[in-house]
């Protein structure tokens, strides 16, 4: 059922050696490959068959659900709409990810539109990894979208990573925060060659006492290009912070635009942004510990994207 390429992709994007335990849904080349549900986590196809609905019962604690997507069919652009309904007081981890294996001249792509409704007091950790590989020359595209709605006192921690091989990515993240809710987004994107990635983020702090922290780490190698846009809009007394750092290597190009909009007098919004090469004091420190220049560069990038 899983061939060697599938296994390799699953290992890379979802840290899976074969099929996971508990609830999972594996999608391959636009179709369901295998699904399991658990007592507290239900997965069903949506009405038009364009995606899944994952429903987590209120109070579900310390459970996880894997929903990886693998693609190896030449010429396929797979679009999927997934909904996650996380019940009140639940505390769960969702591991997503998409791996593309391109073996031909034809393009391959995936767009995962993921919508999260996080119930009162619930906590969700969402881990999404994107990766493409293969000897083919076809263009590999990954266009993920996440939409998050946080109810009162809920928390969402989003780890979004694009680790390599993706020629083009249009990444969109949107979130609306209710009272006393917390959103932590960490996005890490590595581009090289002639790859291009755009990340557009809109976070609305609608509830009093809501907090959001968006961290973006970009490494731009070769002739690649990355643009990062983040808007944080405060409608209530709240706290929001955007931290975006880009390391440019070779001829990489980057545009970073953090934007803060305070629509309430008690909103506290901050941002810090930096674009530049690896700092020479960092390189010298690691070289003084016995690392070569190249080893030091790799170690710094590895840490930056960790």
């Amino acid at each position: 059922m899983l061939d060697a390429i599938d296994k390799d992709l699953l290992k890379t994007v979802a840290d899976l050696e074969g099929l996971p335990k508990g609830a999972f849904n594996i999608r391959k080349n636009g179709k369901l490959l295998k699904r399991e549900v658990s007592a507290n986590i239900n997965i069903e196809s949506n009405a038009d068959g364009s995606g899944i609905i994952v429903t987590i019962k209120p109070g579900t604690i310390n459970e996880s659900v894997h929903i990886p997507v693998i693609l190896s069919q030449a010429g396929l652009y797979d679009v999927v709409y997934n909904n996650f309904i996380i019940g009140e007081g639940a505390d769960v981890t969702i591991i997503a990810g998409c791996g593309i294996h391109c073996g031909s001249l034809e393009p391959e792509g995936h767009a995962g539109i993921h919508e999260f409704r996080v119930g009162k007091g619930a906590k969700v950790k969402y881990v999404e990894k994107h990766y493409a590989s293969g000897p083919g020359q076809g263009r590999r595209t990954l266009n993920p979208t996440t939409k998050v709605f946080l109810e009162a006192g809920s928390t969402a921690e989003m780890e979004l990573t694009q680790i390599g091989g993706v020629d083009e990515a249009n990444r969109t993240n949107e979130a609306t925060l209710g009272p006393d809710s917390l959103l932590l987004i960490t996005e890490r994107v590595l581009t090289e060659g002639n790859q291009k990635a755009i990340s557009a983020n809109t976070i609305i702090l609608a509830g009093a006492g809501s907090r959001a922290n968006m961290i973006s780490r970009s490494v731009i190698k070769g002739d690649s290009e990355q643009d990062f846009y983040a808007t944080m809009e405060a409608l209530a007394p709240c706290f929001g912070h955007i931290e975006c750092d880009a390391i440019i290597m070779d001829n990489g190009r980057n545009e970073t635009v953090p934007s803060l909009k305070a629509r309430h007098p008690d909103a506290a919004l901050t941002h810090e942004a930096s674009i530049g090469k690896i700092a020479s004091d960092q390189l010298m420190k690691l070289m003084s510990l016995g690392l070569t220049y190249d080893e030091a560069v790799n170690r710094i990038i590895q840490g930056f994207l960790k």
Binding site: M284, K285, G290, L305
Partner: protein
């Protein structure tokens, strides 16, 4: 063990290090002092390979090292503690200590922390980033230098940002390293505690070595305005005076 011969470092025609000759002996504790801008840090960086030598030679254990990279000098057994340590995103103290020691074995790292003494165990998984205080990062810097088990350890102003209560333990630590591991120790400092700890005090002014000997002999020179490089210095009343 370390010999400087006719050493020059020039920038835009100005000699920052101006023909220095000196031989450091194995296992001794040296403190390098002198006014701000006299060339102390520059000299330390020349030895580590951070700044390139303009002319002259540096030999370490009989081997000419002035054309070697920082990495090669580190592998020869020279370690360097930066005055303003680098801060990283996503690299922890554990990562740096592992790189320095060449192992990620938990027991060995803990043994290193015990050996250094001044770093709390809770530091270990802290990122070495901008959130660390000046004192904390200097302690980490010192620990990674010691973790190299160097033959020659250079500390550039190790007391910067360190609280008063930690300076004496830090001096004792460097003396213990000197004694137990035979580490040749070079400390660039204005702090009297390090000057008192030194076997030999070296004083630099305008890129030249103007004194080498014990602290007692150095004190009259330290009190003499002639070593001040602040051109129209009015002594203690002048805000620009290093004293």
């Amino acid at each position: 063990m370390l010999e400087l011969k006719d050493l020059y470092f020039s920038v835009s025609g100005r000699n920052i290090i101006d023909g220095m000759n000196y031989t450091f002996e194995k296992g001794k504790f040296y403190s390098i002092t002198g006014p701000n801008g006299s060339g102390k840090t520059t000299l330390a960086k020349l030895i580590m390979g951070i700044n390139p030598v303009s002319s002259g030679s540096i030999s370490f254990q009989g081997k000419e090292i002035s054309s070697l990279s920082i990495t090669e000098r580190a592998r020869e057994g020279i370690a360097y503690s930066f005055q303003q340590p680098a801060r990283f995103k996503g690299i922890t103290f554990r990562d740096l200590l592992s790189m320095a020691a060449g192992t990620d074995d938990e027991e060995m790292l803990l043994a290193l922390l015990r050996r250094v003494g001044i770093c709390s165990l809770s530091f270990l998984d802290n990122p070495v980033d901008a959130k660390l205080s000046g004192g904390e990062i200097k302690k980490i810097e010192l620990a990674t230098t010691i973790a190299r088990n160097p033959k020659l350890a250079i500390y550039d102003e190790p007391d910067t940002g360190i609280d008063l209560w930690t300076i004496q333990p830090m001096v004792r630590l460097l003396k213990r390293e000197q004694k137990e591991h035979g580490t040749t120790t070079v400390v660039v400092s204005h702090n009297r505690a390090f000057l008192e700890a030194a076997d030999i005090v070296l004083m630099i002014s305008e890129g030249k070595l103007v004194y080498k000997g014990d602290l007692k002999g150095a004190l009259p020179i330290l009190n003499d305005l002639s070593v001040c490089n602040y051109r129209k210095c009015l002594g203690d009343k002048d805000v620009g005076c290093y004293r």
